[in-house]
Symmetry: C2
Subunit: 146 residues, 2 copies
DNA sequence: GTGTCTAATAGTAATAATCTTATTTAGTCT
DNA sequence: AGACTAAATAAGATTATTACTATTAGACAC
């Protein structure tokens, strides 16, 4: 589990300032197990600090994503959620039927396949892999219907 | 370049009905070189058929994405665009500085790394890989500033 | 062709996410 | 401690995207 001091240090190193709002946001994300939505985060933070704007939430979530602290997860047309990445490669498997999501904790991106000549001068700093398919339950259900 | 008949056939096979709105939407995407935004598509389609709703545009773009005909590309906080995939593996390299985007036409996902034991019963049907980094121009600019 | 069933649609409403501008403040340098 | 400057903020406006509901029209059997 990531610690708040390390994250603040990462932010400082990335040139970001440490504000009370940011401390609060990070501490709430730390308390949350799993992914958190911007809406939920806003409601939680506003209990302690009622005048924090939605914009601040989104701005900071974006900043933390760019730093590689968090990862934004698309919920297939139902908004997004954010989850700690904490230096690991984290990819998601999302069931296209029921929307269930599991973490695929490993890296399935083949570095060799990213040969220099294909990159057209880009210097890669990160990547995101989303896997789609059917979870066991929906897969069996689909077979039964045939 | 994909042809409209093949796409319509794919849609039929996927259980989707062929409606005039869908023909129109697809034909406009076909005419467009590169990625197209929902907004732009709506404006174009409305020239011929003024009462097409935005909802219809989004709904159909989503359907085509699920069928694997199109691919939704995140523009880093500035909406999304949609582009033909046409059976290939298409990934994107997006510059986190200037937003420039290039297609990485190949597959960098290592099938071996997606070992069965890690998939927890999921049956994979697709994947999406987004690569982030700095394009040659922004990379050089960044070095010069130091 | 006609009838039936169900997906798709338009229109409207609601939600999610981002932008704009004036103001405040963290980090830095005296 | 006091002053400076660029980053961060709140508030409200705007754009992007999805949900809801009554109605329409493909697809398929007859």
């Amino acid at each position: 589990m990531p610690k708040i001091d390390g994250i603040l240090e990462t932010m400082r190193a990335g040139g970001l300032r440490i504000t009370p709002q940011r401390r609060l946001i990070i501490s709430y994300i730390l308390k949350t197990k799993g992914a958190v939505s911007a809406q939920q985060l806003w409601e939680d933070v506003r209990i302690q600090q009622p005048d924090v704007s939605m914009d601040t939430i989104y701005r900071n979530l974006s900043s933390l994503c760019e730093l590689g602290v968090l990862c934004r997860v698309d919920k297939l047309g139902k908004g997004s959620e954010y989850e700690f990445v904490a230096g690991r490669h984290v990819h998601y498997m999302t069931c296209t039927d029921c929307g269930r999501r599991e973490v695929f904790d490993g890296c399935a991106v083949d570095a060799e396949a990213l040969g220099r000549e294909k990159l057209k001068g880009f210097r890669l700093t990160g990547h995101k892999l989303d896997l789609y398919g059917l979870c066991e339950k929906c897969d069996k259900k689909g077979l039964a219907e045939k």
